[in-house]
């Protein structure tokens, strides 16, 4: 058996958590900045508001428990090898932050740069992959094109037999890419934000907005009205429920996206493998469970669950690509609610309401953006001007037609 040598057996190497993470304060009646949604994006934004801009009179309002949205459901793939310049810029900015995030947060986030392979199974996959690798290189991103033999060296359990129904014809490889422990990331950001004096208010749903003309003046919540100088929407899958309250239309649709895990297994899978064509992606998380996902369910859905035939199909793909997985067991499946844009790129920017900032549409791929987005969004809030990394992602692109079509790079969830 090809097992991966690890000095410490997984399971034993899980970190101890901090004794204290956050207060559970009562909401004040007014804040300079109110962030709606304590997912990764909301919490990271809070952290960088305090850290980079000294803005601390901030509340992060969460209708449920912090980090309980897509943040606790995502398969944690972090990479920056996107096709278009605009995307590479924000994701690479983010990846660089990931590389020092553990120190910044003072919290173990188990960021593991074990590399990500994106397999190619058709001649067109190959063309698209080479195109992306070449573009990445010119953008200063580590990217390689690997032959099937090289794929086998990076990940010995991948079936590179050319007899497969859709044989592996090669793969793109980003060595600096990897995974991190989603929950710890959320907690790490929350802890730092809390330390900085930012109030994270859980069990506090935003139910409406207060406006004065074209200016946003606060939010209505299940725990009373809260006045705010600026309001930032970081509500991911539920963003349109909020924007509908303002009559603001945005081009995102909410879909279920499913994921699953196996039981804990001895290390077999040293990297992250994604395959658009046969629709599966998989890594082996720190404790040893295989973490997998596939594409979104086609219909709109807020149910945090999808259809099981999607999972069955994904299992067929997994066993095709990794024959050794045959008797691994599905232990748990779940779903999140992802907000998908027509061009598979996010929407970040100012809105027609002064003081209202929008951040949504990250769809199947926003975890990796968490620090980069938080950094850039905080910049926008502080300066009322988009950070260069997010400037291209405004709503106006739908009007001009200058979409940032990342379906090729984001076609399968990650």
């Amino acid at each position: 058996m090809t097992t991966v040598d690890r000095a410490v057996p997984p399971g034993a190497d899980l970190p101890e958590h901090a004794d204290f993470l956050w207060r559970n304060p009562e909401p004040k009646r007014s804040y300079d900045v109110v962030i709606v949604g304590a997912g990764g994006h909301g919490l990271a934004t809070a952290h960088y508001l305090a850290k980079n801009h000294g803005i601390r009179d901030v509340a992060v309002l969460e209708r449920s428990w912090l980090g309980g949205g897509n943040m606790c459901r995502n398969t944690t793939i972090i990479r920056s090898n996107y096709l278009w310049d605009e995307s590479s810029a924000i994701y690479e900015h983010s990846l660089k932050l990931w590389e020092t995030l553990e120190e910044d947060l003072g919290y173990p986030i188990l960021f593991s740069q074990r590399g990500v392979l994106n397999l190619a199974h058709s001649l067109q996959d190959v063309r698209d992959s080479v195109r992306r690798v070449e573009a990445n290189k010119l953008n200063g991103i580590d990217a390689e094109w690997l032959t099937p033999d090289e794929v086998k060296k990076v990940c010995p359990i991948v079936n590179t037999s050319q007899e497969l129904r859709y044989p592996v014809l090669g793969a793109t490889y980003q060595p600096r890419a990897g995974i991190a422990r989603h929950d710890y990331v959320a907690w790490g950001f929350a802890r730092r934000a809390d330390e900085a004096g930012i109030d994270i208010i859980q069990d506090c749903a935003v139910t409406g907005f207060r406006t004065a003309g074209d200016r946003i003046t606060g939010v209505r919540t299940t725990r009373g009205d809260i006045a705010a100088g600026k309001v930032v929407l970081c509500a991911a899958g539920t963003t349109t429920v909020l924007t509908d309250m303002l009559g603001l239309r945005i081009p995102v649709q909410s879909h279920p996206l499913q994921a699953l895990v196996s039981e804990l297994l001895e290390p077999v899978h040293p990297t992250v493998v994604m395959s658009n064509h046969v629709h599966v992606y998989v890594s082996q998380a720190h404790k040893g469970e295989l973490v997998m996902g596939a594409g979104v369910d086609p219909y709109n859905g807020y149910g945090q669950r999808g259809a099981f035939h999607v999972i069955e199909r994904q299992m067929a793909a997994a066993v095709e690509l990794f024959p050794v997985f045959a008797r691994a067991h599905l232990l748990r499946s779940w779903a999140g609610v992802v907000d998908v844009c027509p061009d598979a790129s996010p929407v970040v920017g100012k809105t027609p309401y002064e003081g209202l900032y929008l951040n949504c549409g990250w769809g199947t791929g926003g975890f990796k953006a968490t620090p980069g987005l938080g950094w850039s969004l905080a910049h926008m809030i502080a300066n009322d001007e988009p950070h260069p990394c997010i400037a291209p992602f405004g709503l106006d692109r739908f009007v001009t037609g200058a979409l940032i079509d990342e379906h090729g790079a984001a076609g399968v969830a990650h």
């Binding site: 349109t240 081009p251 086609p298 219909y299 709109n300 859905g301 149910g303 259809a307 739908f398």
Partner: protein, 92 residues
């Protein structure tokens, strides 16, 4: 894993259907007269409600007919399924 009642064929597995997004969004009669902004809205902006949603489906692997449905996007339950030539029923 819905069992979707095709108005023509009857109940069939979800896997036989393709989703068509929001219903009752007619193509503008004269797209040329729309501003870029209006056109962008027509192309890319759709409702995305949490709750009942009038949407389109096609029985792709059966009779190939499109139809409309009101489905709850939280419970996924179909409240109404109706033909394209029928009016949208009142929501429960």
């Amino acid at each position: 894993m819905q069992l979707i009642t095709c108005p023509y064929c009857g109940p069939r597995e979800e896997a036989e259907f393709h989703y068509g997004g929001q219903a009752h969004v007619p193509h503008p009669a004269d797209p040329g007269s729309l501003s870029d902004e209006e056109w962008a809205h027509h192309l890319f902006f759709r409702d995305n409600p949490r709750g009942p949603f009038a949407e389109r489906w096609v029985h792709a692997l059966g009779c190939r007919r499109w139809f409309n449905a009101v489905r709850d996007t939280v419970s996924y339950r179909f409240h109404h399924i109706y033909r394209l030539d029928q009016a949208r029923p009142e929501t429960p």
